[in-house]
Every structure is written in C-alpha cells, then in structure tokens.
C-alpha cells in the first residue's frame, strides 16, 4: 500500500459561511473522510473550539466535541458527508488584541490504526470586536480611534 493511500482526505464545510457569527447562532456544517479504509481508521474527532495565540501560552476551550471510534462504530458509510450542529456560546468572542488573540475554529482529527493522526481546521469569527488601537497610536491619531485619552 502506498503512503498516499494511508493519508486520509478530509473535507469540511460550514453552512452559509460568512464574515462573522453571532453568539447564540447555530453553527452547522458537514465533514467527510475519504481515501482510507474503515479498517485503517481508529477514531475521528470533531470539535468546535477556541484557542488563544499571541505572547502568552495557549488557552483552549472546547465548546462542542464528538468522537467516533471503532468501539462506537463509524457506521457503514464512511465516505458519506456527516453533519454537525451547535449553538454558539456568548463568549469568548473572537479577538485580535496586542498580546492576546482569540480564535474560533472547527477542527477535525483523524486517527489511524498505525498511530498517525491528521487534522484540518476551518476558522470562523464569533462576534465583531474590532482590533484595539494602542493608546500611543490613538494619542497620535486623535479622535477616530476607539482609544480616547484624557488630558494628563
């Protein structure tokens, strides 16, 4: 068996994809795993999660999680599209700060029997929080920034 045959082809889509999603909105989508045989597959995990990037170490929160394994049965139709759906929470909202950045994504992980695992993720935005302007820059730009400084 070639190496390519051991690499799963993962496809994932989010329905009605757009710029930003609002808290409380239902996020739906579907995913498909192809190329590998059901026998080669150990488990599949789908998560809707947020994580931080930036200066600090990573924080991570899982909002929705489903795992299918050989024990819980993948079903016969491995190659068919599987749907997921979750109501998005009120927080934390996506954020692009100076030290702290919060990202939301749908992450699909596939575990093969040999021990290898593969993952794909589709990012999306929760809420519409604008990027903060550093106070120094706001001072220089004057009114128009979301940072307003009073007289010292």
């Amino acid at each position: 068996m070639s190496l390519a045959m051991n690499t799963p082809l993962m496809s994932m889509t989010i329905d009605r994809r757009r710029e930003a999603y609002r808290p409380g909105e239902t996020l739906t989508g579907e995913y498909q795993i192809d190329v590998v045989k059901t026998d080669d597959l150990k488990a599949v995990e789908l998560s809707v999660l947020w994580y931080t990037v930036g200066k600090g170490d990573e924080d991570l929160g899982v909002h929705y999680f489903e795992r299918q394994s050989r024990e819980t049965s993948f079903g016969e139709s491995l190659g068919s599209w599987r749907r997921f759906s979750t109501v998005l929470p009120a927080s934390p909202l996506s954020y692009d700060g100076m030290l702290v950045k919060i990202r939301w994504c749908v992450r699909l992980r596939v575990f093969l029997r040999g021990g290898k695992d593969f993952s794909e993720e589709v990012q999306f935005q929760l809420g519409e929080v604008p990027r903060p302007t550093p106070p120094e820059a706001a001072k220089a730009e004057g009114v128009g920034s979301n940072v307003l400084l009073g007289p010292e």
Binding site: R22, G24, W50, G61, P89, S91, G97, E128, G150
Partner: protein, 398 residues
C-alpha cells in the same frame, strides 16, 4: 509526588508502624530483671538527642536472654527530661513485666503501645499519595487523548458537578464571575467595588519582604564589617554583597513610599450603579477620597489591559499591555479636609464594540477603574478597582 509519598510512607512504616504493631500483637509476655540503665546520647548531628537504654535479663524456655531496650522504636529525641523520667520508672535489681519476640527472645521491650504523635506524620505521605495518585489516574485515563478530548472531558466533569445545564456548563465561558464585586452594597449607588489590592496588605507585603531581605543582607554585611575592622576583610564577599545591598535600599525606598501613601492618603471608595458592565451601556460611578490632603490632581480613568503569561525556559513571565484608556473625571488643585472627603459622581461608558473581560489559564483581558492622585512633595498614589465587562448589545445572544 506519588514516589515521594511512597518513600515517606515506607520509611514511617519501617520506623514506627510495623515495629509497634509487632510488639503489641506478636510479642510474648514475660518477666525481666533490670540490671542496668543509662541515658544514651546521640551526637551524630549538631543537636544532641537522647533515649533511655535499660539493660534487662529475662527467661525464655528456661534460657536467659539479655537485651538493652525500652520501647520497640528506639528513637532518639532532643527532649532529655522525658527520657530521664522514663528511666526513673525502672529501678536496677527490680523485676518488671516485659514482652519479647518468641522467634528472637533477645528482642524485648519494657514498654508497649503506639507513638500517636508519630502517626500524625502520616498526613504528609497521605497528601503526597492523594495528589500523586490522582495525577497518575488522570494521566492513565487521558493517555494518548488529544487536547480537545481532555478539555471536553474536564468540561463534562464540571457540568456533572455543577449541574449547570447550559451549553458547556457556563453561560459566559471564559468571563470571570462578578460575585466578589457585587457582594458589597454601596451607600450612594448599588455596588461598592472592592479595591484591587488593599493599601495595608500591599504595605504589609512590602514591609515583610524588606525586613526579610535586609535582615539576610545585614547578617553578611555585619560579617564583612567585622572582618574589615579585625583585619580579616573578605573582599569577594563584600563585592558579592553589593547588588543585594542596593536591592535592599530600593526595597526600603518602596516601603517608605507605600508607608507615606498609607498614612497620608485616606481611604478611596468607589461605587457603581450597575454591574457587570456591557459595551455601549452607561453606568454612574461615585467616588470618595478621604484624608487630609492638598492635591494637584485627582483623576479617574477607565483602563483595559491584556495580560499574557508564558514560560521562557524555567521562568514564568507575565507581560501586560494597556489596550484602552479613557479619562472619566478629573479635579485639579483640590483641598480635602479632615472629615470632609471629596465626593463626586460621573458617567462611565464602555465603548461600543469593546472586548469583554476574559480570563483563561495563561491570558487575561481585564477592565479597571483607576483613581490616581498627585500630591505636592509626596509620591503619587494609584488605587485600582476591577470591573467585569460582558459581551455587549451587538454580540448578545440572539
């Protein structure tokens, strides 16, 4: 921790628990004659420790056996009078009950029972075993699990414990609770906000660090000074000590700075009309500044900061950046008299579209109202009152 707990537990079992249990349950009763006694001293360490040594002779199956004994543990301790009292209970030439090991009659004791205070030491290995054991069990269950699966399991466990049937156990995940902020009613507005770090606690902390640091530095400094005057100056120790002394002086300055603020500046109180806050919503803020002060300037600012904690090698570092700052109110050239605090009320609005408060394991976004004061010829003071901001109207649940 598990290994440390097991080692400590084995040591205690071997030293006390098993020998005492054997003496109490397996030893056979007999009669023994005391033929000598002495207070044994142990000088292996800096401290001298003692134990009672009583030489006895007893019969077992018609055979005479000799032993130097008292209790089964034979532990030395520094309490001399207790051991002397133990010796006093036995007279040379008198006969007393004894208990001996039937398999080895030369092992005999005059006193049985349990050393209860020693059993208290079991608390230490118990704690280590508990923490280490749970860690091992958790690791075994999570072996090979992805970060997402581990986090989901933890959240599921929390859901079961709290019984909170929201999406994942919390209505506003990753936003800190405001329980500690809204539990104190105000006198002018509904909530009196707690100060971030109490002035007196801060003063106490700096005072403790200053005393400990300078105390240690002083011990070495005295040694250097004595050495200098006795003609045995330790140049390298003096050189090594310089940065420690400089830091000690800086600490002393910091302590004096905080002391002047604590003594000279009266209490600052801040009350708020509603909590938590939300972007686009206006609240009223009332402040009161007490003390007997002449101020160049007293101001209230709304500040949002991002804090990131990260590991760099073996160090854990924290970096903070101000991402929003707005002057809410200020008064210049104010005079505050004794018993007549400066009181004022003003509006505060979190700008529409602002980020809400966030608290993760390593990162934070926090909002604060900061009161700063500038006093002539005295250090400036700053008092900070945390507030929690929830997602606003634009991002409310639909």
């Amino acid at each position: 921790m598990l290994a440390a707990g097991l080692i400590v537990l084995m040591y205690l079992v071997n030293l006390v628990i098993w020998p005492e249990w054997r003496a109490n349950h397996h030893f056979v009763e007999g009669r023994a004659v005391v033929i000598g006694k002495a207070l044994a001293e142990n000088r292996e360490t800096d401290t001298v420790t003692f134990r009672p040594d009583i030489e006895i002779e007893h019969l077992s199956d018609g055979v005479k056996h000799r032993a130097v004994t008292h209790d089964i543990t034979r532990i030395h301790s520094s309490n001399r009078s207790d051991h002397e009292a133990a010796l006093e209970q036995f007279t040379v030439g008198e006969e007393y009950p004894c208990w001996y090991n039937p398999a080895d009659p030369s092992e005999a004791v005059l006193v049985r029972g349990y050393t209860w205070w020693m059993w208290l030491f079991l608390f230490l290995p118990a704690v280590l075993l508990y923490i280490g054991g749970w860690g091992l069990i958790a690791s075994a269950f999570q072996w090979g699990a992805t970060m997402e699966r581990r986090t989901a399991s933890l959240q599921q466990a929390r859901l079961l414990v709290t019984g909170n049937l929201t999406v994942n156990g919390e209505l506003y995940p990753a936003i800190p609770s405001d329980d500690n902020i809204t539990n104190s009613p105000g006198t002018h507005l509904p909530f009196r906000l707690p100060i971030n770090v109490s002035t007196w606690w801060k003063l106490f902390g700096i005072c403790a660090i200053t005393l400990i640091w300078n105390g240690i530095a002083l011990v070495f400094a005295v040694r250097v000074i004595i050495g200098y005057f006795t003609g045995a100056a330790d140049f390298w120790l003096a050189l090594f000590l310089i940065p420690f002394v400089i830091f000690g002086v800086l600490l002393t300055f910091a302590f004096v700075h905080e002391l002047l603020i604590a003594i000279g500046v009266g209490p600052t109180q801040l009350e708020i009309s509603a909590h938590p806050l939300a972007p686009g919503e206006e609240v009223r803020v009332w402040i009161s500044q007490g003390g007997r002060l002449t101020l160049n300037r007293l101001a209230a600012r709304l500040v949002c900061e991002e804090t990131a904690t990260y590991r760099q090698g073996t160090d854990t570092r924290t970096e903070t950046r101000v991402v929003f700052e707005r002057l809410l109110w200020e008064r210049r050239d104010a005079q505050i008299l004794d018993g007549a605090p400066l009181e004022t009320e003003f509006a505060c609005e979190i700008p529409t579209g602002s980020m809400h408060s966030y608290k993760g394991q390593h990162n934070e976004i926090h909002w604060r109202i900061i009161i700063t004061g500038n006093i002539p010829r005295r250090p400036n003071f700053e008092r900070s009152f945390p507030v929690i901001v929830y997602p606003g109207a634009l991002t409310k649940l639909i």
